[in-house]
């Protein structure tokens, strides 16, 4: 029962979202696409922070690397994204290994590891800003497809294409995360999160496990970055590798509920519409910056009144109404 319910719910959600384009306008599909994007990058970050307790404030680095690898290969050499995206994932994973090995080899933890990730992201932002091969600060532009070129092969084109691409990616990232966190790795990661020394004492190879989770997170984020770049048609170091993107990546899982699989999904479904509503309100009222203020207030309210995140509170309310000893178990460890 505890395993079939989440599976059934996931299948139902996929079915609903699979047919949603029949009923929704491009604008709503576009919003859902952005939501799925934040689900992807949020899940990836959640594996590190939520399950393993590794704080990264520089995940935009993986996003940017994945985006640039895919876009530069496509625009300069005509390499199709079906090759570019996996290569981007490899680069993201390799960068994750480098950062994690450097950090954990020298016992850089907590906020110091976060600073290390920021330093790496900023280094690459500045590097890309001044590296003409990747367009420098001027950015990379992807030409639109010719009439004879295949949309599916080049992964360029309509919003509908990216809607399904991000839906599939979000589902895949969530499924992989579920498999990992409910398997041996997940138990090791949680053990490290709770008490690394104790986990080591019990035989957990903490450093390897931590390097592994950063690499997986890097690869997932890089694939999302590749698709994100293809969707936007242009990439700039500041928007792909900047601190602003790193912060945006972490907001949804924090608000939705860290250390849960549903948290990043709930968070993304909360944050993106709130941003959009706030923007709309600001625009209609005609007060510049009101959107940021409205957004800030709503996020603040969630943090104050639901400090553990939206999903854990919802889950607790739901389980209280069932049996006091019943939990949703399994998939949402």
């Amino acid at each position: 029962m505890t395993r079939t319910l989440p599976l059934a719910a996931s299948a139902a959600a996929l079915l609903v979202f699979g047919f949603a384009p029949l009923a929704l306008s491009p604008y709503w599909l576009s919003l859902l696409t952005i939501i799925f994007f934040y689900v992807c990058v949020g899940q990836a970050w959640n594996l590190m922070m939520g399950y393993t307790g590794i704080l990264s404030l520089g995940n935009s680095l993986f996003l940017g690397l994945g985006g640039y690898v895919t876009a530069v290969l496509a625009s300069r050499y005509g390499v199709v994204p079906w090759i570019g995206l996996p290569l981007g994932a490899l680069v993201g994973a390799a960068m994750g290994v480098v950062i994690a090995w450097l950090g954990f080899r020298f016992s850089v933890r907590g906020v110091y590891f976060a600073l290390l990730t920021i330093a790496f992201a900023e280094f690459f932002r500045l590097l890309f800003d001044n590296w003409d091969y990747v367009g420098g600060a001027g950015g990379v532009f992807l030409p639109s497809l010719g009439p004879d070129e295949s949309i599916l092969l080049h992964l360029r084109g309509s919003g509908l294409l990216f809607y399904y691409a991000f839906l599939v990616l979000a589902a895949a990232v969530t499924a992989i995360s579920a498999l990992l966190v409910n398997g041996r790795h997940g138990f090791f990661w949680r053990a490290i999160r709770e008490d690394e020394e104790a986990a080591r004492a019990l035989g957990v190879r903490a450093r390897s496990m931590k390097i592994l989770v950063v690499a997986i997170s890097g690869a997932m984020t890089a694939v999302a970055g590749g698709l994100f770049g293809l969707m936007n048609g242009s990439l700039f170091p500041d928007s792909m590798l900047g601190m602003g993107m790193s912060i945006e990546i972490i907001i949804a899982p924090i608000i939705g509920g860290l250390g849960t699989l549903v948290g990043p999904i709930v968070g993304a479904f909360f944050v993106v519409p709130v941003t959009e509503i706030a923007n709309d309100v600001g625009q209609h009222v005609g007060i510049f910056g009101l959107n940021t203020f409205v957004y800030g207030v709503m996020v603040f309210l969630v943090i104050v009144f639901l400090p553990e995140g939206i999903w854990p509170r919802l889950r607790r309310l739901a389980t209280r109404r069932q049996r006091p000893d019943e939990t949703d178990g399994g998939s949402d460890a």
Partner: protein, 411 residues
């Protein structure tokens, strides 16, 4: 078996139906605007975030255009606004929201990233997008069929700028020998610098660029860069800036007592903005920039600026305002010829645009096969008494250039 009675009923019904059809005929198949609903024009601009200042200036241009020009469309027009928050990726969502709102023509989105992003949504929906400001050459090279741009690409911007620089020295009779290029390292700065490097020798400018110094857009201190520029001993300083860094540069030049023969920003925004002249005062005077600008000699421009000053007494009618206003001029002109709110009809009308009387300096507004208006002119501006005045070309100049510039300590 048909009876008279039955025939009478059918005939009555037929007559009723015909009557109803006659009454409703004016509404069947007529465009939205003919049913009393206005044609919606979506405007995408960065009105918050790091690009808020030029985004809001552009918004003022559109709002003024909406107020002064809407009637010329010959049909009710409504403007709907969307803010990208200066995030390039927001262009697409903003465009899709506006299209869903019923907008059949888009204007925007100021910066290159947001414009490309929005153009993709417009391309998919087959809704034309009129680019008011965004200079990356790639915008019209991406193969978009729905995109029209009434702003020069960086290459044209530089081409016009170099022509004006040559004019200036021919007019004043003073010929500098060397120059140092100091540029912001963003999409725009890179584009202009690349253009200068490509065109400088080709256009046979008799000035050697002795050094090129770049800096980050977010730099809060440019003392090192200005000191390096000063150390070159070049006759001219050529900064490619935004407004805040232009202010930093002037302040640093005053502090370091750096007095080249002149400061000329080739194709550079910033020094003509009110924020610059307010912040630098007399030290911002004699700073020159060569940019696309309004034609101060046209009656239409004078009237438009008078209306702007009445509407926004504390603001300045400058490049962002002008090109955004002109986007409304183009949109209204297209609607008046299309007499339809349908995107395809507006697109067709835009393709045949030939607008001779408009506010910005240049030839008639037309769009080539890539959607680019090739007839945008460039002027040389010089700040005099805290006002940017046209000093070239001579046909529209309203002031004489002051060159070489007065040393800062003598002002």
């Amino acid at each position: 078996m048909t009876t008279k009675h039955e025939w009478d009923i059918s005939r009555r019904r037929l007559l009723q139906a015909a009557g109803a059809a006659a009454l409703s005929a004016p509404f069947i198949g007529r465009p939205v605007w003919a049913q009393g609903k206005p044609v919606k024009i979506g405007v995408i601009l960065p009105t918050s975030g790091v690009l808020a200042a030029p985004g809001q200036a552009s918004l003022r241009g559109v709002e003024l255009g909406a107020k002064l020009l809407s009637e010329k469309a010959g049909m009710p027009v409504e403007f709907v606004y969307a803010d990208t928050e200066s995030v390039p990726e927001n262009g697409r969502v903003a465009a899709e929201r506006l299209i869903q709102d019923g907008c059949t023509l888009l204007i925007g989105a100021w910066d290159t990233g947001a414009t490309i992003s929005a153009a993709q949504a417009a391309e998919q929906a087959k809704v034309p997008i009129l680019v008011n400001i965004a200079s990356a050459p790639q915008i019209t090279e991406q193969g978009f069929t729905q995109l029209f741009r009434n702003f020069p690409p960086a290459t044209t911007l530089v081409y016009n700028a170099v022509a004006r620089i040559k004019d200036l020295f021919a007019h004043t009779g003073v010929q500098p020998k060397t120059a140092v290029l100091l540029h912001v390292n963003d999409t725009f700065g890179k584009g202009v610098t690349g253009g200068i490097n490509a065109l400088w020798d080709k256009l046979d400018v008799p000035i050697e660029i002795v050094d090129q110094i770049s800096y980050d857009l977010r730099a809060r201190d440019l003392s090192v860069e200005v000191a390096k520029a000063k150390a070159t001993g070049a006759d001219l300083l050529m900064p490619v800036t935004r407004v805040n860094d232009a202010i930093l540069i002037v302040r640093e030049m005053v502090r370091q007592n750096y007095n080249p023969m002149g400061i000329i920003g080739p194709g550079s925004p910033g020094p003509y903005e009110k924020a610059f002249t307010d912040a630098t005062g007399k030290y911002g005077d004699q700073y020159m920039v060569s940019v696309p600008w309004y034609d101060p000699t046209r009656d239409l421009t004078k009237q438009t600026i008078a209306s702007f000053n009445k509407e926004y007494p504390n603001e300045r009618f400058e490049l962002n305002v002008g090109f955004s206003y002109e986007a409304v001029e183009i949109a209204v002109d297209a609607l008046s010829r299309a007499q339809s709110g349908e995107p395809a009809a507006i697109h067709d009308a835009l393709k045949t645009t030939d607008l001779k009387d408009h506010v910005m300096y240049g030839g008639p507004i037309v769009f080539n096969e890539k959607g680019q208006n090739p007839n945008i002119g460039g002027v040389m501006l010089q700040n005099q008494d805290s006002e940017p005045l046209v000093i070239g070309p001579q046909e529209i100049a309203v002031a004489e250039p002051i060159f070489p510039m007065t040393p800062f300590q003598d002002r």
